[in-house]
Symmetry: C2
């Protein structure tokens, strides 16, 4: 008998019919001889409806109350899922985050889990129940309701799996797993069977948003193996786990792309200490998240700094920078460009294999695609190209690293 | 400075606009120098939507989970109301039933309040907050979510008013107060300024459903004075309080009517101990609530028993009785009639004034209305008439006791 934590997202529980489907799956898992904790999200659409109501009563809703409001979405799903399991002859009980002993800090709308005391969870399991647990929520030591922010239900599942020392954690979603590239772009992309935490993190930060980085980081920290699976079929998914011997034999695990990027270049910046801090301090204060940063070697005590960001944030970043530029000297110039996309290759095998970057650049060159910026980490090489060339770029790089599977039969 | 508990029902918080209106009213009360606890219900329609979802996943949803599900309705309203007050420059916090220390027994979907520990409520008030409290819900000693059943939000308000020793409890609804009769039937009906708990209870049990009897009984038991008011205007409402000297000078406080009743008569019942117990035991087991019971004096060791019930329950009651009748002898016969309505006059003054019943019967006789059954209590006289005559009956009785006000200007 294994103890299994399953997590079903908002699409998987989006209608009464789908809730009944989830109930069936959970019950099957129990009937196969396992104990099951199922973490569920709010039914898709419910959270948006609640956000709209909040906007209708207040222009800037109090965050404490936002948590009280939004946490009802998951609470509804746990009740409905437990009812559905009971209706199918099973024995299930629902637990809110608070009831399950999930204690968080007091940062409303993006609380962090402080600790989990799963006494009630264990009791319920020991009595033969399937435990249906509300994702995305917890409570402070003082009993205030909190929510965990984006990707919170994945985090609930992984943290609870760690707390109860689950044998397996399954993240059910609407895709079969993590792919070597987005199959809508590269039809020959293949599902990855096993991937390391670090590779998963780099894939996520490069635009392959199967899961938020935060949950993967948590899983890595506490050594929680988890599997990303499709809630609509029984296909095996992608297992995410610690790095193991042999994993490095695959040089590149996947290709990830991110569209709608913009690039800002600041030319003729004086090459002296504190300049970069000033620039990126202003950007940070404006609430803009930046991605790749490239600084060229100094020339005549002046240098160029380029970085990428989401195109949507470009106006905010530009106006934040205008205030700073004057302080950096007369010659400093700001150029920005939209229509940029980022292509990344990810794989822990890169560490021990040379020539990976040059193979990527070669593939792009052969296809006549110009590289704008290059940035590398230990297990990732990323470039930016013109957005209109990103699909072609993804295809040729995917092929160059031998990631293509059989072409799908239509 | 007074401590005031206000309660707003589902219609009063039915839209974001109405929630903003409630927020305004609550804030005005605070600005007038008072501390305020506002108890709110689920937005009208929300509970029905949740019930529908439950039915969609389960034919007979678990009651434990029904409470987890339904309690989210009020939780959404407390968050939205607190947000709206904060948006209008006030300082409000929401509390669920559990957070407010409302502890109940474990009878899911119709729990009873066991005790209230309003520590958190007092703390929040002392910090200058308006407290927005979820009606209709509590939690067991073991931390399970419970709901209080029909009229639960009124009960929350009155029980919390008792627990915090509030100076005043205001039940906001969509009418101006309790009327001498339903104004849709008797246009000259007047709002009652003051009414005793007992009169209110008799009015409620006779069809004037401003509030459930349960909440009035609780208020009587703990001596909580409360006022029924309209949330859409500033008209004074009806004060419900303990009986006082002088109240008896009004003989009849109001006239109450109840439609859609049915009457069952069992003829030639043997007049021996245990027969009534057998009959009403069967009815009770079938889950049917009966109202008036009339038994005539015995004749030849046989008697007739008649009683009224909701017409909707008639088929259930009849089939429950068929099983019992055979045991009571061959001659026993069952007759039933629908199209019956009940008219009651209520007033504590009846106790000390004679001739009240005969005045009522006289008024009905003068109008040519036949009385079917008569039943009296210390402060109520009730009759049944044919349903098609109930409006006329209400008008003539209302007039006979001098309850008519000025005819409304249209």
């Amino acid at each position: 008998m294994a103890l299994i934590v399953q997590k079903y997202g908002g699409t998987s529980v989006g209608t009464p019919e789908r809730i009944r489907n989830v109930a069936r799956r959970v019950l099957e898992t129990q009937k196969a001889g396992h104990q099951v904790i199922a973490v569920v999200s709010a039914m898709s659409g419910v959270t948006d409806g609640l956000l709209k109501l909040a906007k209708d009563v207040s222009e800037s809703p109090t965050e404490r109350e936002m948590d009280v409001l939004l946490s009802t979405g998951e609470q509804q799903t746990i009740a409905l899922t437990a009812m559905a399991i009971n209706a199918q002859g099973g024995k299930a009980v629902s637990l809110t985050g608070a009831q399950a002993g999930i204690q968080t800090d007091g940062v409303h709308t993006k609380a962090r889990i402080a600790n989990i005391t799963p006494t009630e969870v264990h009791e319920m399991l020991d009595e033969g129940n399937i435990v249906i647990l509300a994702g995305f929520q917890g409570q402070t030591r003082d009993g205030l309701i909190t929510t965990l922010g984006r990707g919170g239900s994945d985090l609930t599942a992984i943290a609870m799996a760690a707390a109860v020392k689950a044998d397996l954690c399954q993240i059910y979603t609407d895709v079969d797993g993590v792919y070597t590239c987005d199959p809508r772009v590269v039809p020959t992309a293949q599902k990855i069977d096993v991937i390391s935490y670090d590779e998963m993190l780099e894939m996520a930060s490069s635009g392959s948003k199967v899961m938020q980085s935060r949950s993967v980081e948590f899983a890595k920290k506490f050594g929680v193996r988890f599997e990303v699976r499709n809630s609509m079929n029984n296909n095996p998914g992608t297992l995410v786990k610690e790095e193991e011997l042999g994993m490095e034999s695959v040089v590149v695990r996947g290709v990830s792309l991110e569209r709608n990027q913009a690039k800002i270049t600041i030319d003729d910046v004086p090459d002296r200490p504190g300049v970069a801090a000033k620039i990126f301090g202003a950007i940070h204060k404006a609430g803009v998240v930046i991605d790749m940063i490239v600084q060229n070697v100094s020339w005549d005590n002046e240098t160029d700094i380029s970085f990428t960001l989401s195109a949507a944030d470009l106006p905010k970043a530009e106006s934040a920078l205008q205030a700073v530029l004057a302080e950096l000297g007369d010659k400093v110039e700001l150029r920005s460009q939209t229509g940029v996309a980022k292509l990344s290759i990810v794989g822990i095998g890169m560490r021990s294999h040379s020539g990976v970057a040059s193979k990527m650049f070669g593939a792009l060159a052969n296809a006549g695609i110009n590289i704008q910026m290059i940035s590398t980490s230990e297990i990732k090489t990323a470039v930016t190209v013109e957005e209109r060339e990103i699909e072609k770029a993804a295809k040729v790089v995917h092929e160059a690293f031998g990631l293509d599977g059989a072409a799908p039969t239509a």
